[in-house]
Symmetry: C2
Subunit: 146 residues, 2 copies
């Protein structure tokens, strides 16, 4: 059996930004990619889309918190956030990539807005830090049967 016969026809199509935002609107699990002290890192987090931004919670003083601190007020690191939904059996699905600054929410006003996002972390304990990713670039693609 050749690879070709085992791989039925599939096509990839690029998704428009409005379609990407529609797909990720329900929230759920996404993966944040960032430069950690040990090189590039990727971690799954539970997110919500709130007022156009990705919002998730992490523990203060966690590795993620510390890796996202630039040490400069109002300066944020650029990160990537990926969300996908893939049907392994049917071999179809979509993925969306958000790129933008990861903002550690510090002010009371910002915090009140982030709390309204209603996002919950899964692990117990002190998950006090809200992180917002304001999309500067939104791209996505879909794999479907040809």
């Amino acid at each position: 059996m050749t690879n070709q016969s085992r791989t039925p026809e599939r096509t990839i199509e690029d998704l428009a930004e409005v379609e990407c935002l529609r797909l990720i609107a329900p929230g759920g699990i996404g993966r944040i990619a960032f430069k950690s002290r040990f090189g590039l890192a990727v971690l799954p987090v539970n997110y919500r889309l709130h007022e156009g931004a990705i919002v998730f919670r992490t523990a203060r003083h966690s590795a993620l918190d510390e890796d996202l601190q630039t040490g400069i007020a109002d300066a944020d690191y650029l990160v990537a956030f990926e969300i996908d939904e893939i049907d392994k059996a049917a071999r179809v699905g979509w993925s969306v990539l958000i790129q933008g600054p990861a903002h550690r929410v510090e002010s009371e006003t910002e915090r009140a807005s982030a709390v309204r996002a209603g996002v919950e972390p899964w692990p117990a304990g002190e998950r006090e830090l809200f992180v917002q990713i304001i999309p500067s670039r939104v791209t996505g693609r879909r794999i479907l049967s040809a």
Copy 2:
């Protein structure tokens, strides 16, 4: 209802490298994070674990292929590769992070080995390039009910 009551006790535990490799051994969907020309990017790919390395296929001259080319022979970019399995209903799961150089397979010997990995890309078309990630660091964690 407070956030606390909606978030039953969960704990995070770090996984040993041997446990991480056991979890990712079946292959499936992983996400590669890399520095693209537009900043950090993350893409889902269909991978296999073969002879201790992550192996996946992509199209030659795709954005991913071109972003992984250093232009220097025997020099590879460092990337991150994340695999997870998350039960959204039970709110438990694990994630594994592989960090290491992403090697574009060019020589015939390497290619023969990569082909034996039997990894298939999902989209149709010319998916000629094999990429190997040789782990230099393997970490993982599990979220479980306390």
